[in-house]
Symmetry: C2
Subunit: 196 residues, 2 copies
């Protein structure tokens, strides 16, 4: 980590162990905080704008004053296929139908991130294109039988079996698909701290 | 894993724990075998052709008969910048100069893979483009001080700090940059077994 960032702690508003691990590997000290925010969005908002709006809304819902050496990081990830948002599945049937829809197609993963500190805030969104090969019913069912899909936007984890077998190509940041656009976050935090 | 592949064991000719882990996550039983092959290549061979040639050469250097349920997998990875091959660094100075050269530029990672079984063989090469943001001297030195770079083509691991900070975009298979093009390997093995 650059000297510039030494002494800063990221307050990460996410229950996802994957996100916690990614931020730690980036070299930051992390404290996990809990934030509840309404996730309703007007129907006319573009899918690609939603993650940034929700990331900022989560940030604003954190009412605790932010200490001098802390940066609050909130994020929201969306999977979009043919301009339609695919959320987290609420049942095995829904996960099956999401994965069938992704088979053989290109979709987008958007992560919106909001950084907020005592001296200001910024929001940005990173997009990654993901191309699935054709996956068989047998492969989908094998995945649903053996892996955790309920907590995942788009019903898949790129770091798991289904991601390794199905994803033949991505365009953009891999880690964005895993949960956070780490290279962009690092760069934005460096800028953000310099701006202070 | 599809039923078709049950009962097969991959003989993986690689000392890399990353490669062993990737193949295991793909769902295969793995046995690691040791192969020594000459890696000299004529100077007029195109960089993109080298990994396939070396993967096949390693395969042919394995003289043990391959059992009925086994598939030998050999691979070779190359990093290419501006049509020049970047190998594994032999010193810290060389690693520094390789990473400086990658900074702010797009390079290619090629992995050649050879599958060989009792009933035949096949070779394929997967290419992934990797775009580095500008990295500072300070960031390069921080990486060289704290991470293992000597065993890595191009002096970096995309799954480590430097990869997370520097790689702003890839085009292709992420796992190919980590060591093996797993989606392609899975697909090729399914075809290979069907052809039997």
């Amino acid at each position: 980590m650059t000297d510039l960032l030494k002494g800063y702690t990221l307050l990460l508003a996410s229950k996802s162990p994957r996100r916690q691990q990614l931020i730690s590997k980036l070299g930051f000290d992390v404290e996990v905080v809990s934030i509840d925010a309404d996730e309703d969005i007007d129907a006319d908002v573009l899918p690609s704008d939603i993650p940034g709006i929700l990331a900022r809304r989560k940030s604003m819902a954190y009412s605790v004053p932010i200490a001098d050496s802390h940066i609050l990081l909130t994020a929201d990830t969306l999977v979009v296929l043919d301009d339609k948002v695919l959320g987290k599945p609420s049942s095995r049937e829904e996960a099956y139908s999401i994965l069938s829809a992704l088979s053989g197609k290109r979709h987008q993963v958007y992560t919106g991130v909001c950084l907020r500190a005592e001296w200001g805030s910024r929001v940005f969104t990173e997009a990654t294109d993901v191309c699935f090969k054709n996956i068989s019913d047998h492969e989908i069912n094998y995945y649903l039988d053996n892996y955790e899909y309920m907590d995942k936007a788009g019903s898949y984890g790129i770091q798991e079996w289904i991601g390794m077998v199905a994803v033949e190509r991505i365009e953009g940041d891999f880690y964005n698909v895993m949960g956070l656009p780490v290279a962009r976050i690092y760069k934005e935090i460096v800028d953000f701290v310099k701006q202070r």
